[in-house]
Amino acid sequence: MGPLVPDVIGNELNFVVALFIGIAFGFILEQAGFSTSKKLVGLFYGYDFTVLRVFFTAGVTAMLGVVALGHFGLLDISIIYINPTFLWSALIGGIIMGLGFVVGGFCPGTSFCAAAIGKIDAMVFIVGSFLGVLIFAEGYPLFENIYKAEYWGYARIFDTVGMSQGLFAFLLVMVAVGAFWITTLIENKINGKPNPEFSPMRLYVILTGIAAILAFSAFFMPDLKEKYLKEVEDVSFVKSYNLKETTSDELAFRIIDDENNLQIIDVRSLEEYKKFSLPKSQSISIKDLFGKDAKKILTVNRKMNVFLADDELMERKAAVIADKLGYEGISVLKGGLDAFKKEILNFKKPAEIKTRWEEDEIRFRLKASKLLPQLIEQNKHKIVPRKKSKRILGGC
């Protein structure tokens, strides 16, 4: 599961990766014509919409790709860099950048690209941006309030506007394609002639069709976290979902037996887990089941994963999600930790014993109620909450 940094690719190697990504980035920008300021500002005066075409095509391509990778569990969205939202600085900073764009004719990335092929104006622009950053840095105490105002966290745009991810993605692609058609018409009108780059119209009709199909596919690639968390809100669905059950006696037996392939997935809060937990248990919150950390724990070969919470419904919710995510060896502890405490840990010998079978059960439970507390006590020093993967820092 991505991202590959820092587990597969180390932090040092990441700098080498950065260099190669940069080479590809610079190459594409230059090939697209982003090394000339006249072309870059064309969209603001209507004579050349290359920037809009390249920018929007790249944006929707990557966006659909992220949606797809997230849906198929190949990318852990919860730890990739989502630009945090600080409303006022985003808007005011953006408007100042817009001013810089029409005055200077570049943005930072394109100025480096143009400077590399010898454009002197781009080199001057870079000097200017250096001064701009310096002014911000020196005056930081003055700007700090506005810089940190109106913080919305790692907000996603579809949540902000109250749509599903699929619908927003679909609309964004459609807006992009619409903008391509309209701006081409504007461009032709302003330049007084059809753009020779776009003469085979039929090709563009076909491409529009393909874009529409791809956009539509976003509806079939919902964000699984959003979808499954919603599905398990339905109690009757969760109760009737076919899951393997492990009884208190069986679990107690396996713990005492020190079975290697037993793994208890404790979905209670971390505080509760630290206070009291069974041997062989790992703490994962339901929300974290979708991530990279959970994958490492749940895909260990031939493990029997018993979900544990205070009550069975909570266990079932988590187990249903794990099952839907394709993890194997899933079961729930029948009756939850509450039943386990009653039947095993705090077991009291009943006044009368009816059958022979009941007698065996009671004998086991009495033995277990003595042994298990010792095992729990011994396990206490082993409880180290997992190191959680942190969100990657990005941005400029």
């Binding site: 610079g26 990739i80 630009n83 945090p84 941006s129 780059e197």
Partner: protein, 171 residues
Amino acid sequence: MKPAKYMNPYLAGFFLGLLLLATIYITGRGLGASGAVKSAVVATVQTVSPEHTQQAKFYDEYLKEHQNNPLKNWLVFEMIGVLIGAFISGLISNHLTFKLERSDKIKNQTRVVAALFGGLFFGFGAQLGRGCTSGAALSGMAVLSTGGIFTMLAIFGGAYMFAFFFRKLWI
């Protein structure tokens, strides 16, 4: 040899999109540019006046994040790559020049002053907005970040708002 034509913009956009997607998949972060300028600023100030970087909060925070080595930053390596990549592209497409590009209607000095101030506004704005066209707008769109998309709208909206007043620079 005549300079080669530019790539079809949709094809270039598609490649750029795939590159951005690969970047997110591999590194967990998007592309960027202005952050490299920030590194250079901090490194310069650190060299010129080390005491100042300890007193001023902005530098202090940045240096703490970078273990006192401001140039050891992902974006610095990426932007070195951009210079190399753009140069290679310019070389094979015969775009290499050494000139000050400007509209025929303005003087060289005007273009230099405009480029300097344009850069200054952009550099300042990119700090306030936590990223530029690459780091905030493009990468923000790819991960459907509210802040990134707002910044994108503000950049293009702002540019259209001011375009009329600076039209003499271009047309």
